[in-house]
């Protein structure tokens, strides 16, 4: 066993939660084989889901899960930024707004009344935003949820002071590498893989379904071309394309603009008929 640095020199980690499902921070606890070793190498100074003890900042690395969707969260994220030397947004909610950013296209007042008997008890912002919408973020790790091995890569890289190696190419490359047949060719199934960033291990095509975009847009996606293909080859309607783009990373550019354009072209073609 390697010698452990004394506690006072171990880097301090903070894990924050905002509007989210817990799934991304849970990925730390899903590291069944590495968790105890990790806890030996770094001081888990603030991680409410895992421990009661809270050590004061400043923290070397802060992981932020969740989108910013309430006035209280807006204040907290600004404080988290002050407390952390390096701030990393983890997961679709923190990097794109997440699924709850669907409210950004709707009237939040109506949404509140739909769910709650007393909307006046609810305090919320009109939009659910990625963390970078409020504070400077040093690194963004995509995914709904994040891939736990990528999470370890980011933590290890930051703690030894190198750049995390997280690919920004598409899911297609993962399929090719794994020898998974293309589901659009072999199963006539629409797949967001060509425009979605790799990272999940291309699991959907492996399970015979199309990618639905958990890791958000890849570096240079040709969305119009792919969606045109969906319409021509699979007879998808424009509203179906809009829904597919407005998923767990729907509010992240260029997915957002693409779905807005599709929606407008659908509305204007309806108006012509």
């Amino acid at each position: 066993m390697s010698a452990k640095p004394p506690p006072q020199t171990r880097p301090k980690l903070a894990v924050y939660k905002f509007s989210s499902c817990d799934g991304c921070q849970l990925q730390l606890l899903e590291l069944e084989d590495e968790l105890l070793e990790l806890a030996g190498e770094i001081e888990i100074a603030y991680f409410l889901e895992a421990r009661r003890q809270v050590l004061p900042g400043p923290y070397d690395v802060g992981l932020v899960e969740g989108s910013i969707s309430t006035p209280a969260e807006e204040k907290l994220i600004r404080q988290a930024r002050k407390d952390c030397k390096v701030l990393v947004a983890i997961g679709a909610c923190a990097t794109s707004g997440g699924i709850q950013a669907l409210r950004n296209w709707a009237d939040v007042g109506e949404f509140t009344a739909c769910v709650y008997a007393h909307p006046e008890y609810i305090s919320t912002l009109d939009v659910a935003s990625p963390v970078a919408g409020y504070v400077y973020v040093d690194f963004e790790l995509r995914g709904c949820p994040v891939n736990k091995h990528q999470l370890v890569e980011v933590l290890s890289a930051l703690l030894i002071g190198r750049r995390p190696q997280i690919p920004t190419y598409s899911v297609c490359l993962e399929c090719k590498r794994e020898g998974t047949p293309c589901v659009m060719v072999s199963r006539k199934t629409p797949c967001l893989g060509p425009i979605t960033q790799a990272g999940c291990g291309a699991i959907c095509p492996k399970f015979h379904r199309g990618c639905y975009g958990c890791f958000g847009p890849m570096e240079t996606p040709n969305i119009t071309s792919l969606c045109g293909y969906f319409e021509e080859q699979f007879g998808m309607s424009k509203p179906e394309v809009v829904r597919l783009l407005r998923g767990f990373n729907g509010y992240l550019e260029p997915f957002k603009t693409a779905s807005d354009d599709y929606e407008q072209s659908h509305e204007s073609s309806n108006a012509r008929h």
Binding site: R51, Q53, E110, H118, C204, Y212
Partner: protein, 435 residues
């Protein structure tokens, strides 16, 4: 009241109750030895799932609702699928049904073991976390992590990944596993089994605070199996109704101190869902060797002490592990991964046993296959009023303790419920006021 004016008043403010999934708060107000108020509030920000599900396609619902909770996504996927299948008049049987049970066993194991050993056990042994606990009990923590991993392996092999599996669909699955793939899982389960047994014997030796409550337990009951995906809504006071009558007997109210709706029995009071409620309702359906083990370690049904939910989770984990092995032994790969789905207009109800208790979904679907309306009642919202009742009953028993210790005990009580506040809407802030 001004502190200086009343030397008897003490206030404890704990910002963030730890080792729960989400953000909530506890407010206890005491005047002398009388409990004036016991409020368990949920400040998890609202995410409005029921609102934005409207207009989404039925096929997207299992994937979207999974994101309500990263710890029990399978439960959301299952309740959603069953509800939509009911609306479409579809039944999923045979090996596809068995695979759903198998996947649910995986989630029970991973979620229960996470809570038992990483979140709850530190309370009983006097540690602030499993990380600190591992310094003295490393073998236990390591073995628990391996048991949890075995549960997760079921979910990973059947679902593609542990958190937010991608392989569940209305009608069944996208791809069904081969026998060989499941045999690998069985090996991991076998390897973890001795610890699942030994753990129960160890947990039975812990000291459990004395708090007997007259719970009205609510769980699904199925005539010939321990209910996971299907069953009747059954209570310990004799109610037995089909799940589509959920809102006839249970109601939700919106309280000012919470972003989660509170569940109550209509015309009645609080009720208990989750592992202890399930064992109380379904114990007769458990295999004899598990009942014998319970007798051996001194665990008797009915059990009305929620601190012993730790043991209840242990029994359910052992059951789920053995049931998973049995399902794998009898597995034959089905010809098709899903039954045919023909959307039609209708209303459907789904209720399944999430790790924390019954999870009810109701959807109205239009002829276009789009969701018209959605209602979701998660287990923690249903338990919220019961948590408050437990606190009110428990506080006088621990009032003599120092402020720190009393707060810790109250937190332990809340953790009895393994509250999943992300589900119920999250920030657990504990405020203790003494007058």
């Amino acid at each position: 009241m001004n502190k200086a004016m009343n030397p008897q008043m003490r206030v404890i403010d704990v910002h963030g109750l730890a080792r729960v999934e989400g953000e909530g708060s506890l407010r206890l107000q005491l005047e002398g030895d009388r409990v004036v108020k016991a409020q368990f509030g949920i400040f998890e920000p609202p995410r409005f799932y029921e609102a934005f599900l409207r207009g989404r396609a039925y096929a997207e619902v299992p994937d979207i609702t999974a994101r309500i909770c990263g710890i029990c996504p399978v439960a959301y996927q299952m309740s959603a699928c069953h509800a939509i299948e009911m609306a479409f008049g579809i039944t999923v049987g045979g090996q596809l049904r068995a695979l759903r049970r198998l996947m649910y066993c995986g989630e029970w194991i991973e979620s229960h073991v996470l809570h038992m050993f990483l979140l709850h056990l530190p309370d009983f042994l006097g540690y602030e976390s499993a990380i600190s606990m591992a310094a003295d009990h490393r073998d236990t923590v390591v073995a628990a992590l391996q048991l949890k991993k075995a549960g997760n392996e079921i979910v990973r092999v059947l679902g593609g990944r542990e958190v937010h599996p991608i392989n569940v669909r209305v009608g069944g699955f996208y791809r069904v596993p081969t026998r060989g793939e499941l045999e690998g899982v069985a090996e991991m389960l076998q390897a973890a089994r001795p610890f699942a047994l030994q753990a129960l014997k160890f947990l039975a030796t812990l000291e459990y605070p004395d708090l007997e409550m007259d719970y009205d337990c609510v769980a699904l009951r199925h005539s010939d199996e321990v209910a996971l995906n299907e069953g009747h809504l059954t209570t310990s006071r004799g109610l037995d109704v089909p799940i589509n009558q959920f809102f006839d007997y249970f109601e939700e109210s919106h309280e000012p101190h919470s972003n989660a709706l509170h569940g109550r029995l209509k015309g009645g009071g609080t009720y208990l869902v989750g592992p202890l409620a399930r064992l109380n309702i379904n114990w007769d359906l458990y295999p004899q060797y598990i009942k014998d083990l319970a007798t051996e370690i001194g665990f008797a049904i009915p059990c009305r002490n929620q601190f012993k939910s730790l043991l209840a989770r242990g029994f359910e984990t052992l059951y789920a592990l053995d049931h998973a092995l049995e399902l794998i032994r009898h597995y034959e790969r089905p010809d098709v991964p899903a039954v045919e789905v023909r959307p039609r207009a209708g209303v459907g109800h789904g209720c399944t046993e999430a790790p924390r208790g019954i999870l009810y979904h109701r959807y109205e679907i239009g002829t276009d296959g789009l969701v018209r309306s959605a209602s979701i009642v998660p287990p923690t919202a249903q338990n919220q009023p019961q948590i408050e009742a437990d606190l009110a009953a428990f506080a006088p028993k621990v009032m003599h303790l120092a402020q720190d210790e009393m707060t810790r005990r109250c937190e332990q009580l809340i953790r009895n419920y393994d509250p999943c506040i992300s589900c119920a809407t999250h920030f657990l802030r504990v405020t203790l006021e003494r007058k």
